[in-house]
Amino acid sequence: MTTTEKSPYHTPAKFVGLAALAGTILPPVAFLFGAMSLDLVKGIMFVSTILWFVAAPLWMKVD
């Protein structure tokens, strides 16, 4: 994964993007250990999906 350097949105987008990826994978892990309901897992994953597709174009560069 490469990153852009000039966009003013780069740093916040990187933060949101990483949070979105965490929001995609950590809730299922929490569900595995019985710490979260499946409905909440699904909700967080969907919101994270939206956030990822907003943040990724501002952060990731196509080589």
């Binding site: 994978i25 299922p28 994270s48």
Partner: protein, 479 residues
């Protein structure tokens, strides 16, 4: 797979995805030094390209065929490693030495007329592959409607399941075709951005499934119940993983991509696609069906559609993943099929050719047979297209040693090198006649199609040497 899975599509080098078939940069010349790319460009590309919608089908199909845990965990590891080594030590060195597209290199060996035949075969196979991606994506439409509104296909479905299914496939296929008409830089970008998220969705599906099953013992889950008929062996799994992308590595289609690599070591980047998409993602997808078999009483021979399984595991994020995974790989495939058809029918406009390709893809997508027999299909795909790689290997490594002309069509100006045609078709026709997909099998035994790409490629190379020497001898005698 894919194709990559099988389909060779959806990667992130936007200048290159314009088309390896026709119309991309340096299409008829060596890639110049200034256009070469470092290895990082290829790692992301391979990771995105080989995590496609069809991965949701392949894992469950292994479960249907009774594959055991050792075959899935060790066999897939070995098969994917062999695929990576093929890319690294066969495809990439030729790509970095020649720096030409497969099509231009083929034209130099086989002649322009014969490349047109190859393009037609390629275009039709692309259509069926994109059709199976439309099928997978269409299964994600069902969960948005009340249960039973759209009858979903099962592993045994070959015909459309009803009007609602047909409408879903047409809607998704038409949207994909429309975007393909506009060019697919945008879709390539979406595929690039989606890749890391998509991989995590596959992983999330497996983790949630483990949570639902109340165990983390993946080995035990992947072990089929006693008495399960094993229709695919350890060797079969190894060969499937190795050759499901045979057209790309031994078939040399990835010359078009890797010709931009600074060094052959860029071939290692294929590991990202193989081990994320064709190892982790396949096993994750297999776990989805295992849950439905164990907890919901689904017959593994019938299976469950990917949309329903993914929605049940991770909800709408999963449905978005199924649609995007199918879309980002089917769309460039439709575009490339259009280009291939345009090569065969030059009078056809780009728009007309893409519409034709889109229509064929939609027709193929409506019939679930292609997606539900994906393992057979990718084997056939590799068996037909991989042997041309044998010609290129002979031309690149052996021609001088065995005393045949390099790039014979370019030197003689012929547009239809008959030695190539015979060397390509004879092994392919003999090979396919041994498979279950052949209407006529005179051999008395059947061979799974994914066993065939390597023997057919080797046979093609040997025949090409013999026929070229024979033709060269006759020409010398005539002179």
């Amino acid at each position: 797979m894919t194709a990559k899975d099988h389909g060779h599509a959806g990667h992130g080098m936007v200048d290159e995805v314009e088309s390896p078939a026709v119309g991309s940069e340096y299409e008829r010349e060596r890639v110049p030094e200034r256009a070469l790319k470092g290895p990082s460009a290829f790692w992301g590309m391979y990771a995105g390209e080989h995590t496609a919608g069809t991965e949701f089908m392949i894992g469950p199909l292994f479960v249907k065929w009774g594959a055991d845990a050792f075959s899935l965990i060790v066999g897939l590891l070995i098969g994917n490693l062999l695929a990576v080594l093929t890319w690294r030590y066969l495809t990439a060195p030729i790509a970095c030495s020649e720096r030409l597209t497969l099509y231009y290199k083929m034209e130099k060996i086989a002649g322009r007329g014969l490349v047109t035949v190859y393009n037609l075969a390629n275009g039709l196979l692309f259509c069926f592959l994109a059709g199976s991606m439309i099928t997978v994506s269409a299964t994600a439409v069902g969960p948005f409607f009340p249960e039973g509104t759209i009858a979903m296909p099962t592993f045994s479905s070959t015909m459309p399941t009803g009007p609602a299914w047909i409408i879903s496939c047409i809607a998704i296929g038409a949207a994909m075709t429309f975007v393909a008409l506009k060019g697919y830089d945008f879709v390539a970008l979406v595929g690039h951005y989606a890749a890391p998220w998509m991989f995590l969705i596959f992983l999330a599906c497996a983790i949630v499934t483990l949570g639902k099953l109340g165990t983390t013992d993946v080995w035990a889950l992947l072990t089929p119940p006693p008495g399960t008929k094993q229709s695919i062996s350890f060797v079969g799994i190894v060969l499937f993983a190795w050759f499901c992308n045979a057209a790309m590595h031994i078939g040399m289609a990835d010359l078009s991509v890797l010709r931009f690599a600074r060094k052959p070591s860029a071939g290692w980047a294929s590991a990202a696609g193989m081990f994320l998409g064709h190892y982790v993602a396949w096993i994750c997808a297999a776990l989805l069906l295992i849950y439905w078999v164990k907890e919901r009483g689904v017959n593994p021979q019938e299976g469950k559609d990917p949309g329903t399984m993914v929605n049940d595991a991770v909800g709408w994020a999963g449905l978005v993943c199924v649609i995007i995974a199918g879309w980002t790989t089917a769309n460039p495939t439709i575009y490339r099929a259009g280009l291939a058809f345009q090569g065969v029918l030059p009078a056809l406009s780009r728009t007309g050719a893409t519409l034709l390709a889109g229509a064929v893809c939609i027709a193929a997508g409506i019939f679930p047979a292609f997606a539900m027999r994906l393992l057979d299909f990718v084997g056939v795909y590799g068996t037909i297209l991989a042997p041309v790689g044998g010609l290129i290997v002979v031309d690149h490594f052996l021609a001088d040693r065995v005393g045949i002309e390099r790039d014979p069509a370019a030197k003689s100006g012929v547009s239809f090198n008959m030695a190539v045609l015979v060397a390509w078709l004879v092994p392919v026709l003999i090979g396919l006649s041994m498979t279950a997909v052949s209407p006529v099998n005179p051999w008395g035994f059947e061979v799974p199609p994914w066993y065939l790409p390597l023997p057919c490629t080797i046979a093609c190379g040997i025949l090409y040497i013999l026929l070229s020497k024979f033709a060269g001898g006759r020409a010398a005698a005539a002179a």
